[in-house]
Symmetry: C2
Subunit: 417 residues, 2 copies
């Protein structure tokens, strides 16, 4: 097989049905190639408009705006739900991913008082592990963190062995933050259900990036963020999904007035609302919700199926280029080799990954990100990343390694959520 050329990448761009979406993003002139849409998506023009109109609405409608703003957590939730394969009334946009994880994990474990274990992934994103550790401590449960291969992710058979009749909750990321290893969501849900356990999926690295089919899989609970593939801005609100069948059965612990049945009666006694509203807590961040609404609109218009098709082609190109150009220089793929097991980014391991990453950023060549201990993540965003950019990025990475990394101290650890 011949080495891929830039011409091959350009040919892929020429036949890309999504190229028109690139104009939605502010991509003027030369500069580093942005491959960190898996950490912080770029701002779509529609989102910038929504933020500006939101500030205008605040100024002109003042407190009267609340008469319609107040429904945004659920209306934007329904819209976002369609991207996740969730029917209406099951998704709310609210709080941070961490707080949503806490609320739902707590509710799930509390709902199965006879069950003594919680199953998670030892390589999961820190907040997921810490939240579960806290819940396990609160309820006096055993936290079983399953170990897997750092690049390939959890093996479903090994995972299955950790789940048994004592398990209240199986809480996992659909796509791993570091390796992009993607779990088979329906199959793992089925394993959990076979043992009577509930599932809680963290969709941070898959929501908006690929079709998820929560309802179809019979998933119980899910949470996610909106600032990666959903391009809603740094620290934009998170979301949560509670399967309709569980609503009213699972009581979340943060009893706030936005979850109250008759909120403005201001009555004594917490009486959780019917439906997904019971999983809200405090006053929602309106400008953030407007940003999410507009951002979801962009992904919806482009189509998750089409985005996922392009995403797989982008990551396949990156994987092949890593093999052809970076492996000979001491780097290796740190994502699953099989596309069937990958999410939307590609990770590359190298003994000097942090220094390499710093050089790429400092020399304004490529913006990837670094994850301990030795991984550079490359996150192409199918809405705005071209195949040619992926080709150029790998060539620049190759050139930096070939040219030699500086012996300077690599500087402080990066602080990039």
């Amino acid at each position: 097989m011949q080495r891929l050329t830039r011409f091959d990448a350009e040919a892929l761009d020429d036949s890309d049905p999504l190229t028109r979406w690139r104009s939605e993003f502010d991509l003027d002139g030369p500069g580093p190639i942005y491959l960190d849409g898996n950490s912080l998506g770029r701002p779509p023009a529609a989102v910038r408009r929504a933020l500006s109109e939101g500030a205008e609405a605040w100024a002109s409608e003042l407190v009267g705006g609340w008469s319609h703003w107040i429904d945004l957590p659920l209306t934007v939730g329904d819209r976002l739900g369609r991207l996740l394969g969730a029917g209406p009334g099951q998704v709310a946009v609210c709080d941070s991913t961490t707080v949503n994880l806490y609320k739902l994990a707590y509710a799930a474990v509390a709902s199965l008082p006879g069950r003594t274990s919680i199953v998670g992934d030892a390589a999961d994103f820190p907040t997921d592990r810490y939240v579960l550790e806290g819940i396990a401590s609160t309820f006096g449960r055993e936290l079983r963190l399953v170990e897997g291969d750092l690049a390939e992710g959890l093996d479903a058979r090994v995972l299955a062995k950790a789940v048994d009749a004592s398990t209240a909750l199986v809480c996992l990321s659909h796509v791993n933050y570091r390796s992009a290893a993607r779990l088979d969501l329906p199959a793992v849900t089925e394993i959990a259900h076979r043992h009577g356990a509930l599932t809680l999926w963290d969709l941070c690295h898959s929501g908006g990036a690929l079709p998820i089919g929560l309802d179809e899989a019979g998933a119980d609970l899910a949470v996610g963020c909106t600032y990666k593939y959903l391009n809603s801005g740094p620290g934009a609100p998170g979301y949560l999904y509670v399967n309709r069948a569980l609503q009213g059965k699972l009581l979340q612990p943060v009893w706030g007035w936005f979850g109250q049945r008759d909120q403005f009666a201001m009555a004594p006694g917490y009486d959780p609302a019917d439906g997904i509203r019971a999983y809200l807590a405090g006053s929602p961040p309106i400008l953030g919700l407007m940003a999410v609404d507009a951002a979801v609109g962009v992904t919806e218009a482009a189509g998750v199926d089409k985005l996922w098709t392009k995403s797989q082609a982008l990551t396949a190109l990156l994987v092949r280029l890593v093999e052809e150009r970076l492996r000979p220089l001491g780097a290796r793929l740190a994502s699953p080799a099989s596309p069937d097991r990958r999410g939307a980014h590609v990770s590359v391991a190298h003994a000097d990954a942090w220094r390499w990453c710093r050089a790429l950023i400092d020399r304004r060549l490529v913006i990837p990100d670094f994850r301990v201990p030795d991984v550079i993540r490359l996150g192409p965003a199918p809405l705005y990343t071209t195949f040619a950019e992926c080709f150029d990025a790998i060539e620049r990475m190759e050139a930096v390694l070939t040219g030699g990394l500086s012996d300077d101290p690599p500087g402080a650890m990066p602080r990039v959520p």
Copy 2:
């Protein structure tokens, strides 16, 4: 004593040292008089600029922006803390008021396992009561909600009787959301401390409106919102205060990666950071934090002491006008009669308050708000409300009552947080 005239109000405006701040707000042309700054403050120009610059920073800095955004919860917290009388390292801007209440109330009650009661206010804002009810249920504690006069607020002697050696936490609003009744924060803190209980203050209706002196009073814990007197926008982030003496001793329950000691090591095992950072949970809302930063800057520049002086003059004017012009029409003051016991708004009760409020809003005369069962709240904001506006508002309220309220059904309950 002669009835107040518009001339008297104009004279107060003429000698108001804060008039120049009115230009910071977008107040062009005629329209209803806005007296709901106690629910949703108007946007200062500085905040609108900050939001616009924030969107620009997202577009241009992309993920690299996190290297400085990540400190915003604490740097903005320190700045906001100065308005609350809190020394540095004790305030964080994060999550919603409800979630912050939950985190701190949980941490407080968990820290005093031998104590079986929690004391609150039966007339407190719903979310405060519901959160405490949830915490009491979680820990199997007795929730003692003290009853007071709806207009005058809790009597400190009655409150004192509810606190005893069994009390873990006394959680109260500094200024009541409905009546504006203001508690003596140092005195109540002292009552709690005398019995070995912790205090948790909800500052939603006092933060940014009046000097609070948290450190000086030896307050333990506090939370608040930024969208009322602090003008940071609908649903802008909340804040929390943990007295330095308690940091490290009180463990909050939402174990997220933003509270982790070495966040980017992504290490196994939750190990809470030193200091106030341990009370963070998930990824912070960056644009919201930028708005709070700019909004706090405006209040800081105007000066809380000066704002409070003007606020007291505004509410004194309103109280006198209510007595002179509205009481003869069947309305009565629903706030404490003594200025020493009032916060920054004035409430007026009337048997037909909701219909009256609707008429004022529908006819574009005044924008106050309504609170069940029978109260109209008038919240002048000393940064931008004039004495003449207060005068005109009461005259318009008087005219509407004199003209007679419509017999039309008053419509659905308002949905105004």
